[in-house]
Symmetry: C2
Subunit: 339 residues, 2 copies
């Protein structure tokens, strides 16, 4: 069914039909009614591919995301999808096993004439340049791109690392253990470095650091390794995401018999849903995902509507402290923060 068929049935020209489906076009009430009736009876719906060919707008936005199964991404994806839909954009989803698959995926993205891209992956400078060359607006989501010429929405992971470390330090913890994220994760690196930096500034002993893969097993494995390296449990354990923190927590309680928070404090990042379950009540940091998705959709929409003339913008959000039951934190500190 094409607009020609509808035009024929309605007894008008094809362009009249086209105008009826364009909001705010100049059509008489009578023509509109006839066209709509014909369209309905023929089940006519405009062809988005043909439209995009001439308008140079596909109304599609590519969302590039790695590791969808990670507990933290679904919320991001869900929010992004809603926000984009609200702005009349559809989500063309590109999932990657690892962030390193990003380059190959990009080649696919160009074909589809998407109006913009939201990339939850690290953007190298050449990649940023390619976006500019192709005039495809891009917003980096939760990744600080190497290049400055890109809009991004991030949660300040570095500051998050500092927040947790400083609160734990203020409460008297001295020997820190850290379970870091995989080396290719910039989010994990920033959290780690924020924590380390803070501890260094405070003159505390160097933390003992092990690497994990952001999964449950990594948390348990990480804690065991820390205990074996230190000869005892650290005073405080900072895990670079919640799932590892939960893995460590379970290991501490069920396997090693370490009292949390009595003997060891445990904190995580993300405030994924399970972190708030009664068995955990994890002390952690929440990324304001709804606001971040909203900001990303706004930034991208602005870029799209301005044809890339809008200045690049970085929206930086602060993580919110979630007061759980897995860390001993001093009352004073809490009062101080409220004031």
């Amino acid at each position: 069914m094409t607009s020609y068929d509808v035009a024929l049935l309605a007894g008008v020209s094809q362009s009249a039909v086209s105008r009826c489906f364009k909001p705010g076009a100049s059509v008489s009430r009578d023509t509109y009614a006839r066209v709509m009736k014909a369209a309905e009876s023929l089940d006519y719906i405009p062809n988005a591919a043909a439209r995009s060919l001439i308008t140079r707008r596909s109304n599609m936005v590519a969302v590039l995301i790695s590791n969808v199964a990670n507990l933290y991404y679904p919320e991001a994806l869900s929010e992004l999808s809603q926000q984009l839909n609200r702005r009349g954009k559809r989500v063309l989803l590109f999932t990657m096993q690892q962030e390193s698959d990003f380059e190959e995926v990009l080649a696919d993205v160009w074909q589809y004439q998407v109006d913009g891209v939201i990339a939850a992956a690290s953007l190298s400078a050449p990649q940023v340049a390619e976006f500019a060359r192709r005039r495809v607006p891009v917003v980096a989501f939760n990744r600080k791109p190497a290049d400055q010429g890109v809009s991004c929405v991030v949660c300040d992971q570095h500051e998050g690392g500092r927040m947790l470390a400083s609160r734990l330090a203020a409460a008297g913890h001295r020997q820190f253990g850290v379970i870091a994220g995989p080396v290719d994760s910039s989010v994990g690196r920033e959290r780690l470095h924020g924590a380390i930096e803070c501890l260094r500034e405070l003159g505390l002993p160097e933390p003992c650091i092990v690497t994990g893969q952001f999964d449950y097993a990594s948390g348990a494995r990480g804690l065991r390794e820390l205990v074996s390296r230190l000869g005892k449990a650290p005073d405080a354990l900072i895990c670079c995401n919640d799932v590892m923190a939960i893995g460590a927590l379970d290991c501490a309680r069920h396997e090693l018999g370490i009292d949390v928070p009595g003997r060891m404090s445990v904190v995580g990042f993300d405030a994924v849903e399970p972190s708030n379950w009664a068995s955990y009540r994890l002390t952690t940091l929440r990324q304001p995902m709804q606001k971040m998705a909203l900001a990303a959709a706004d930034l991208l929409s602005t870029q799209i509507e301005s044809e890339g003339e809008a200045p690049h913008e970085s929206r930086i959000f602060l993580p919110q402290f979630v007061d759980g039951d897995t860390a001993r934190l001093s009352r004073i500190e809490a009062d101080f923060l409220v004031a």
Copy 2:
């Protein structure tokens, strides 16, 4: 950059360029090399919209899914995306707040000329008819459509309900409680009815049933209501998904002081990742998600390639029992099943 630009630079006709990007077309080595060199230097990439206009293939598949944030969907979405990508299809994602938003979303789907649809939502008979009329292949994912004229991939939820109920019954549980899913969830309904049917056949007392929303809070709320209705905890608690089971489990242990599995057995459905964490070790059923995604991608690809001439097919998978620590199950039963 269009194929004309490339043709000009390479000194060939536009159709020659087109052929170079079509696998298996008839082009001389020399022409191919010249075209590719020109294309590379111009950053040329074929325009998928223009291509789909004439080939009537967009290489896009719409995936309709509700409640992406549900712990169970991310795995499904991730697997589906991978399987479809492997077949050269991109995923156009449509998320719905509720399954009832399905109808509106469909209107959007038609515009985009997708090659097919994977619908994780209930399909009414008129909707099935519309797919047929528009000649868009569709595969229902984990939903038995009302109409038979649709391919579907499902896990036998009804049988799952029976499996859990029968094993619990065989182990001597008599008074059952059930926390059901929301009324508009066919998956939840089937699990519930399977369990009820089985208990009825065995001549056991009618189970006490409360309704939940598939979320953590529903599990706790549901258990409290059951206890208040029965005046005590049921012998066995069947929850229509894992997250509610975990909610009930936490409530039983941390709030009501009910020994699980000593005093009450608890089982769930889905085998989401947290169900296997040390704090829970939930007895549950796993849906073979990878196989299901694979089957869905296969079925849809077949439909697409046959232009809808392929017969409709139902692929029904059986849930796999996951032996956790939250249910007392008799040794005999276990041996019996192995044999």
